[in-house]
């Protein structure tokens, strides 16, 4: 049964698969896509769905548990922690590495700050929020 979680793994990316899972689940929790208290698929089910090793999934879950995003329900599996749904500050923190990368790339291309901001603005416009 598909878990319904929109997780994507790219095995040949340089980022270890367990970290890809952590990043995506964290973002979903911070953004409220995964509500507090909602349960996650079992290690076996998720490994099967994504065609990856079970150890990889259980490693991602354990790290997320240690970070306080998930809690282990004995016998039931993993749930999203109570107060995990993030503050704006926490969500912004998720975005920080991408901003860092964007600015670094912009500088390499010898773009001005105005041009970089302009590029972000036009991207925001093209992905207008459905309200």
């Amino acid at each position: 049964m598909p878990s319904g979680l929109p997780l994507i793994v790219q095995p040949s990316s340089g980022v270890p698969i367990y970290r890809q899972l952590i990043d995506q689940i964290r973002a979903m929790v911070a953004g409220g896509k995964l509500a507090a208290g909602s349960s996650l698929p079992s290690v076996r089910a998720l490994a099967q769905e994504l065609d990856i090793n079970m150890m990889t999934v259980s490693k991602a879950y354990s790290r997320l548990e240690a970070e306080g995003y998930l809690v282990r329900d004995r016998g039931v599996g993993m749930r999203v922690a109570g107060e995990a749904a993030g503050s704006a500050a926490a969500r912004l923190e998720e975005l920080a590495p991408l901003s860092h990368e964007l600015v670094a790339r912009g500088r390499q291309l010898s773009l001005t700050d105005q041009q970089i901001l302009g590029s972000v603005r036009s991207e925001l416009k093209s992905q207008t929020k459905p309200s």
Binding site: P11, P16, I52, M55, A104
Partner: protein
């Protein structure tokens, strides 16, 4: 820690005067999935054959489940599953006859498991073995190797000659095999992308020795490529601790490093008055960088 499932100590194998294994040392714990990588001719098949007692080592020791490879007892052999590079299926059988034939060799054959795996694989029990595609035949070989619930599963290039679709099917079979957490799996491959989905550990065989045995995740977390850019010319002999390969081109340099941490990168930025971007590398890129040493 419990005794390793597989342990090689200074294993050597020569064919006449040509040394292929030049002192392999490796300890593999229980329950891991190891991808054994190395270029063609690095000695991957020779290593697996020594492990299984199909070849006699020239010197050194190789133990599997606590017994020397060359002296494996029947009781221990019954705990091993092996899928050779070229399949040993009989073309005149159909799928279910092939299963019945194989099952007869094993007292502890798990018929329920095999029936379930065949159903999952979509193989038709009535189909002639001779008419199976390469990928289907390989999948059948893996299922046959799992029927006696082996503690150790060894596969020699399980996906080498397959098209991408069939390769994916074989990987799925491997993942099914890996669902038993007590089972140890060792497979050789020269296709890195096969490994990245399935393996928990990587063993790199280079020039007749195991150069590296490590968790795949920690390897990817550790080996990085730094893109250095400065406002001044960088020295041609730019010395960076733990560097595997350095290329300097005026204001810019790319450096592959063995162990990147946030602190070490900040330190380098300060020392060279440069900005550094850290690039993640996939296994193939890591393999190429490591081979530059």
């Amino acid at each position: 820690m419990s005794e390793p499932i597989l342990s090689a100590r200074n294993l050597q194998k020569a064919y006449g005067k040509r040394a292929v294994l030049k002192g392999v040392t490796l300890n593999v714990p229980r329950g891991v999935v190891v991808g054994l990588v190395g270029s063609n001719g690095a000695g991957k098949s020779t290593f697996l054959k020594c492990l299984l007692g199909l070849l006699r080592p020239t010197a050194g020791s190789i133990r599997l489940l606590g017994e020397e490879g060359w002296e494996l007892t029947p009781a221990t052999k019954a705990k091993i599953g092996y899928v050779p590079q070229t399949n040993r299926l009989y073309p005149w059988f159909n799928v279910s006859q092939m299963i019945a034939y194989t099952a007869a060799f094993y007292p502890a054959w798990d018929e329920g498991l095999v029936t379930r795996l065949i159903a999952q694989s979509g193989l038709d029990p009535k189909q002639r073995v001779s008419s199976l595609s390469t990928g289907q035949a390989q999948r059948l070989s893996i299922i046959l190797a799992l029927g006696h619930q082996p503690e150790v599963l060894i596969l020699d290039e399980p996906a080498a000659s397959l098209d991408p679709l069939a390769r994916r099917e074989v990987l799925t079979s491997l993942l099914e095999a890996a669902q038993n957490e007590n089972r140890t799996i060792l497979f050789s491959t020269h296709i890195m992308s096969d490994l990245e989905r399935v393996a928990s550990h990587v063993a790199l065989l280079r020039d007749g020795q195991i150069d590296l045995f490590e968790e795949l995740d920690s390897l990817k977390d550790r080996v990085k490529r730094l893109r250095v850019s400065a406002n001044h010319d960088l020295p041609h002999d730019l010395a960076i601790p733990g560097s595997l390969r350095t290329q300097v081109d005026g204001h810019f340099a790319t450096v592959a490093v063995n162990h990147a941490t946030a602190a070490s990168v900040a330190d380098l930025e300060h020392r060279w008055q440069a900005s550094i971007e850290v690039e993640d590398l996939n296994l193939e890129e890591i393999y190429l960088e490591l081979n530059h040493r």
